[in-house]
Amino acid sequence: MDHHPMNWGRPRNDMADPYGTYPIPQRPMNTQTFEDSVQHTQQPIVTGASVLAIKYANGVMLAADNLASYGSLARFKDVKRVIQVGSSTIVGASGDMSDFQYLQRELDELVIDEITHSDGHNLGAKEIHEYLSNLLYARRSKINPLWNSLLVGGCSPEGKRFLAYVDLLGTTYSASTLATGYGAYIAQPLLRKAVEGREDTLTEAEAVKILEDSLKVLYYRDARSLNKYQIAKVTAQGVEISDSKSQDTTWGFAEGIRGYGAQTQ
């Protein structure tokens, strides 16, 4: 029998050292019994599409739909892709949803650890973003990425706004409008046109309108999107994440377009 502590709980390997005879055989610290079958994420499986976010007068607003796709199959239609972290931060995720759920657990643990200190310090959006970018960069450096693009929004009690991006490569950046996935192609130009230079004057109603209009364009053009979405905001007062809602869309025009509706020659 092998009683060596390094092998506790590991499957027995009779080929190597069946009786653990003296002298104690070499056991490298990093022996991985299942080394050959450990799998790293090579591609995302259940995925969320675009997340959009803008700065506006009172804080930061973020929007994402409720769809998690399995390839081209609209698999889960009630998925919350925007979460609150701590008291003044929201995180929106696109990419692999299981990796995102893992990130949620990591963030929950981080926030609990921080609360437990009871030292009067708070994790703000800047800190959450730094933590996420270090985590994602570390994982990409192990060639074992967490397959997500994340938007982190926040607003301090003093009203200082924060909005930044981080992805599976650890790439980070900040701007007054951000979008992930197809949103970067389709929504970002619309957001920039509506927001750039007006970050400090946009009202809440205007901000909601800008995001909803962009979501509608995405819904019309992105096949992996859903007309059911949530809008989240962070202001100096804290976080609010809306219930799921949808918008009116018009598909009547499709009837008249050849190859789009039902045609008889």
Binding site: R140, T172, Y173
Partner: protein
Amino acid sequence: MSDTVTLAGPQQRQFNPYSDNGGTILAVAGANFSVIAGDTRQSEGYNIQTRYAPKVFRLTDKAVLAVNGFAADGNMFVKKVKQRLEWYRHAHSKDMPLRSIARLIQSMLYGRRFFPYYVYNILGGIEEDGSGAVYSFDPVGSYERETCRAAGAAQSLVQPFLDNQIYFKNQVAAPGTSHPSHLPLSDVLALVIDSFTSATERHIEVGDGLEIFIVLARGAPIHGLEAIQGIQEMTSNAEGERVFIVRRVLKYD
């Protein structure tokens, strides 16, 4: 190709841990100053990720580092260099000399020889003898001291221009005269700004904003710097070298 070949084994798709975030950096050394500049656009493919992501960083009062390539590696690398410089400051109660920072950077880059930081570094500043210096590096740490260097997306546009205007390559001095070995600061600043406006015209990954750092040797004349519109001083210790920053807009398209 027959079907048997494609069916032979599972197709492996490898995760690519690198990306290229565009942009260009540039540095020029003068007799008693150094100029280090970079644009502020960060892009991936045809997407502009942000119009303001700094690529040039003040390390000490006499050293400025510009990083270009894969932005995530660049930011991590700068973070680690700054950390090592802080440790040096705590151990020796002084800032690390420029040539030592250059060697430190080569060690840190070569330390990752087999999983490199995909980053081109240009280090500018003032040497201990008071001369302006520029060190340029490749991603795995090969480095040399030079008078001027451009790197990044528009390197192939900017470097020949600098060779011509700063090294006077392909120019013949008028009879009885010779080319200057160092240009005055005002000429260098004009060349740097022209380099970036031209690169912005001809390269899609360059634009949005320009940040120019100027490092002046201890006791060097101010060269009429105070007249430059929007100039800001970033010096931490009044006695030693002085660091300034100048910001300019570049075209958004």
